[in-house]
Amino acid sequence: MSGLFSPRAWSKIWIYRGTFLLGLLNTLKTAVVALLIALALGIIFGLMATSNKKLLKAISRVYVEVIQNTPVLLQMCFLYYALAFSGHSPGIIVTGFLALGIYTGAYMAEVIRAGIESVPKGQFEAAESQGFGYAGQMFYIIIPQSIKVILPPMTNVIVNMIKNTSCLYIVGGADLLSLTYSFVTGENTGGSYAPAYIVCGAVFFLICFPLSSFASMWETSLKKREQRVFQNSTPKEA
C-alpha cells in the first residue's frame, strides 16, 4: 500500500487534479452521448420487437442477441481497428460512445420490450377500439403504464454503462480509469497508487451508488405493490 498515508502522495494528487477532472469529464461525456444513442436504439428496436411484423421482430431479435452475447470490449476493439485500418480513425471518445451506445442499446431494447409486454393485451385492444393510432396508443396508454416497470432496470443498465466506459482503456483510453492508470504508472507522476485509486474508485462510487440504490429501492416497492394487488387474483405470467 505505497503511500496511503503519505502526505506527499496525496498532495501529488491535488497538484494533478486536472488529470482526474479531465478523465471524469471524458467519462461523463462518453456516458451521456452513449446514453442518447442507446435510448434511440433501444426505443427503435424495443418497439420493433413488440410490433406485429415478423420481419421487424426478427431484425430486433438478431440485434439484441448478437450484441448481448459478445463482450463490449470486443465490439469496441472491432469498431476501433476496423475504422482505423480502413483509414478513417474517428478518435477514442467517438469510438467509445458509438460502441457503448450500440452495446447498451441492446439492453435498453430488452428493457423497453419487457416494459411494453408487461402491459396487458386488452389495453392495446381497448386503445385501438377507441380510435387511437399507433403513436397515440403508445404515448397516451402504453408508455404511462410501462414507464414504472421500465425505469428501475433501465437505471441498472445506465449504471453498467457508466462502469463500462472504462473499456476505453483498450483503445487508448481517455476516460477516468485510464487516466488514473496512466497517472500512477507515468514517469513524472507515478508511484502514488493507493491515493489515486481511492480517488478514482470514490468518484465512480459516488456516481453509480445513488443510481443503483434508487433502482433497487424502486424495484422493491414496485414488487410489494404488485404483490398486494395480485395477492388474491390470479398472478400474471412472469
Binding site: 459478445t70 488514473t180 465512480f204
Partner: protein, 268 residues
C-alpha cells in the same frame, strides 16, 4: 479481395488456430472458476446481509453491505488494475504451469482474483433475491422442529434458494464470460487478448506484410462467433428453463407470487 484471401489463410494456420482455441479454453476455465468461487463467497455475503441483524452480529451485516455495494458500483477494470498491483500471489501460482511462464501465471492469478471479487458482489445480490423468495414460514417451521440457525440454512433455506436462482446464475455465467474479456487489458492469455495478439502480428501471417481491414474483420469475427456460440447456447438453456418454470407456475398459481421475486436480477 486479395487481402481477404490473405486474412482467411491465417485461419488455415494450425498454430494460430491452436493459439486461439487455447484462449477459448482459458476463457472458459477462468469464467467457470470465477463463478464457482463467487457462488461460495456470494452466498456467505448474502446470508450475512440478510440474517445478521442482531446487535452482536450487525457488524457482519455492515461488512457485507459495504463489500457488495463497493464492488457493484465500481468498474471491473478498476479492480483488475488494483489487484495487479496489490494482490499477493501464493507460491503455487508462481511457477510454470499450463504451458505458461511464471510471470503469466502470476498475472493470471491476480486477474482471476479481481474477477472473483467483482463477481461475488453481483452473485451475492442474486442469492439474496433467492433468499428473500423463500417464505419466512419455512424458517419458523425449522425453528419449531428444533433446528439450529445453521441447520435451517443448510437443510431448508439454501436448497430452495438455489433451485430458484439457477437461471439467474446461468445468465451470470454469460456475463462473466463477457467480463473475462476485460482481462485482455492486462494481457492475460484468454481469447480476447490472444485475438489482439494475433492481429498485431497479422502482417507476418497473412503473407502481405501489412495489417488490413480484412484481418480485423476475420479475426474479431472469429472471436465474436466463438463468444456468441458459447453465450447463446447458455442463454437458450436459461430461456428453456424459465419457460418450463412458467408452465409449472401456471399449473400451480400459489407458487407464482413468491417465485416472481427472483425474476429481475439479470442484466449485463
Amino acid at each position: 479481395m486479395d487481402t481477404l484471401g490473405g486474412s482467411l489463410s491465417m485461419l488455415q494456420n494450425p498454430a494460430i488456430i491452436r493459439f486461439l482455441l487455447q484462449g477459448v479454453l482459458f476463457t472458459l476455465i477462468i469464467s467457470v472458476a470465477a463463478v464457482l468461487f463467487s457462488i461460495v463467497i456470494g452466498t456467505v455475503l448474502a446470508l450475512m446481509r440478510n440474517y445478521c441483524t442482531s446487535k452482536t452480529t450487525r457488524i457482519l451485516k455492515a461488512v457485507s453491505v459495504i463489500y457488495i455495494e463497493m464492488f457493484r458500483n465500481t468498474p471491473l477494470l478498476f479492480w483488475i488494475f488494483i489487484c495487479v498491483v496489490f494482490c499477493p500471489t501464493p507460491g503455487f501460482a508462481d511457477r510454470q504451469m499450463f504451458g505458461l511462464s511464471s510471470v503469466n501465471n502470476k498475472l493470471l492469478f491476480k486477474a482471476a482474483v479481481a474477477l472473483i471479487l467483482y463477481t461475488s458482489g453481483v452473485i451475492a445480490e442474486i442469492v439474496r433475491g433467492g433468499l428473500n423468495s423463500v417464505a419466512h414460514g419455512q424458517i419458523e417451521a425449522g425453528q419449531s422442529q428444533g433446528f439450529s440457525m445453521v441447520q435451517i440454512m443448510w437443510f431448508i433455506v439454501l436448497p430452495q434458494t438455489f433451485r430458484a436462482i439457477v437461471p439467474t446464475l446461468l445468465s451470470q455465467v454469460i456475463t462473466t464470460i463477457k467480463d473475462s474479456s476485460f482481462l485482455a487489458n492486462v494481457a492475460v492469455i484468454e481469447l480476447m487478448a490472444r485475438t489482439k495478439q494475433v492481429l498485431s502480428a497479422a502482417n507476418r501471417y497473412n503473407g502481405l506484410n501489412s495489417i488490413n481491414v480484412s484481418d480485423v474483420f476475420v479475426l474479431f469475427g472469429v472471436a465474436a462467433a466463438i463468444y456468441f456460440v458459447i453465450n447463446f447456447s447458455i442463454s437458450m438453456t436459461v430461456r428453456n428453463m424459465q419457460k418450463r418454470r412458467v408452465a409449472v407456475k401456471v399449473k400451480r398459481p400459489s407458487v407464482a407470487a413468491k417465485d416472481s421475486q427472483t425474476g429481475w436480477a439479470c442484466n449485463g
